[in-house]
């Protein structure tokens, strides 16, 4: 018997299984709301207390300060020679720490406190670049990178909790690009590749 021979019972079963459940507007609204909530907003920012001063800051607000420091670092690098570089500008993502230790208010363990992590990406033609990863819920608006004075290098410093993270760069808000300097891994959930960074304390 040919493979294409009629099979009434199976055909009828397939027809039955193809019947669609009715459209459920309530479920659709619930899903859209859950997805919207899953995005990082300012209100979601964890609060940190810097050192013993007790001043609290929003973590993503600190990104601006860190980015400004990175830009200043690029400028200074070309103009000033110093015997002891204060901050490492790494070729691949490397953890750096501030002079004051940051302690997450909600964390009971130092191991889970975020560590400042610098990302550097070379692209002379991009108009904008941001870091997206599991640490910022793939939200390209939370970690925009700053262009250096050479116009080709982009960088940002962001706090990330220790562990293994998958990330990439979003170029011009539309093109997801892997980090050429980092190992790649396939994201089994989504079937796409991502770059990997291990964030940890020395």
């Amino acid at each position: 018997m040919s493979n294409d021979a009629p099979d009434p019972i199976l055909d009828r079963a397939i027809d039955e299984l193809r019947r669609l459940p009715p459209v459920d507007p309530v479920a659709i609204r619930r899903i859209v709301a859950a997805a919207a909530e899953a995005r990082v907003t300012a209100a979601d920012e964890p609060v940190f207390v810097a050192g013993s001063s007790g001043r609290s800051i929003r973590i993503w607000s600190a990104i601006g300060l860190a980015a400004a420091a990175a830009v200043a670092g690029f400028i200074v690098r070309g103009a000033v020679t110093t015997k002891a570089p204060a901050q490492v500008v790494a070729q691949t993502p490397v953890a750096t720490t501030t002079s004051e230790s940051l302690t997450q208010v909600t964390s009971s363990s130092a191991e889970s406190s975020p560590i400042l992590q610098q990302f550097i990406f070379e692209n002379a033609h991009a108009h904008s670049v941001s870091v997206v990863g599991d640490f910022n819920k793939w939200d390209r608006s939370t970690a925009p990178m700053q262009r250096s004075s050479d116009d080709a290098t982009w960088s940002v410093i962001i706090p990330i909790v220790p562990g293994r993270h998958i990330y990439g760069y979003m170029v011009d808000d539309s093109l997801f690009t892997l980090d050429p300097r980092a190992p790649k891994v396939k994201d089994v959930d989504l079937g796409t590749e991502g770059s990997v960074v291990m964030v940890g304390r020395p």
Partner: protein
């Protein structure tokens, strides 16, 4: 013996060509249009895939939330529908593994009575047939059932399923055949 090749079912709502691009840029209205287009199909797939069909609504929601978060990474050369069902399939497999750990029993009549048929109208005879089909399908092992559903119910070609699952086409065809044979023999015992 397997049925003749079937037409690919059309999505419930045709998506505008720019909808996915807009959703990728974070447009929540575009994302809503995607959910509206695919929700019923995803729910149908999840109900048939899950060992505890009560979890279907939650798994569909989980899959759409994951998709929304991952949209910036979506590569447009990849078929969107394949990507969505790849994510949903992963969610369902994870849920089945967790369910098996807590409860090793197979889907029983009690579970089936808690899961409404997708259609609410029709004669009692139709509903009985529908319940028998779903019961027979629930007896098909997960790894065969998923491929059967992707091919015959959701209309994916074997080369697409190969890209989605990483399983070679010859193995996929064997799984569909085994699922078909099992479904047929279960139903033929009563309706043949």
């Amino acid at each position: 013996m397997t049925p003749a090749p079937l037409q690919r079912p059309a999505p419930a709502t045709a998506l505008d060509s720019t909808t996915i691009s807009r959703a990728k840029l974070g447009d929540i209205d575009a994302f809503t249009a995607i959910v509206e287009a695919y929700h019923s199909r995803c729910l149908r797939f999840a109900r048939a895939m899950l060992r505890n069909p009560d979890d279907a609504e939650d798994m569909v929601q989980e899959a759409f939330v994951r998709l929304y978060r991952a949209l910036p990474r979506y590569e447009e050369r990849q078929r969107f529908e394949s990507w969505l069902f790849q994510i949903l399939g992963n969610c369902c497999r994870t849920a089945n593994t967790a369910f098996r750990r807590h409860d090793a029993r197979t889907v029983d009549d009690e579970v089936l009575t808690r899961v409404p048929s997708p259609h609410t109208t029709g004669s009692a005879l139709d509903n009985e047939w529908g319940d028998d089909v779903r019961r027979a399908l629930a007896d098909v092992p997960d790894y065969n059932r998923e491929i059967f559903l992707l091919h015959y119910i959701e209309g994916f070609a074997y080369d697409e399923i190969e890209r989605m699952t990483g399983i070679k086409q010859s193995a996929l065809k064997m799984r569909v055949k085994r699922a078909s044979d099992m479904l047929r023999s279960k139903l033929a015992a009563r309706y043949g």
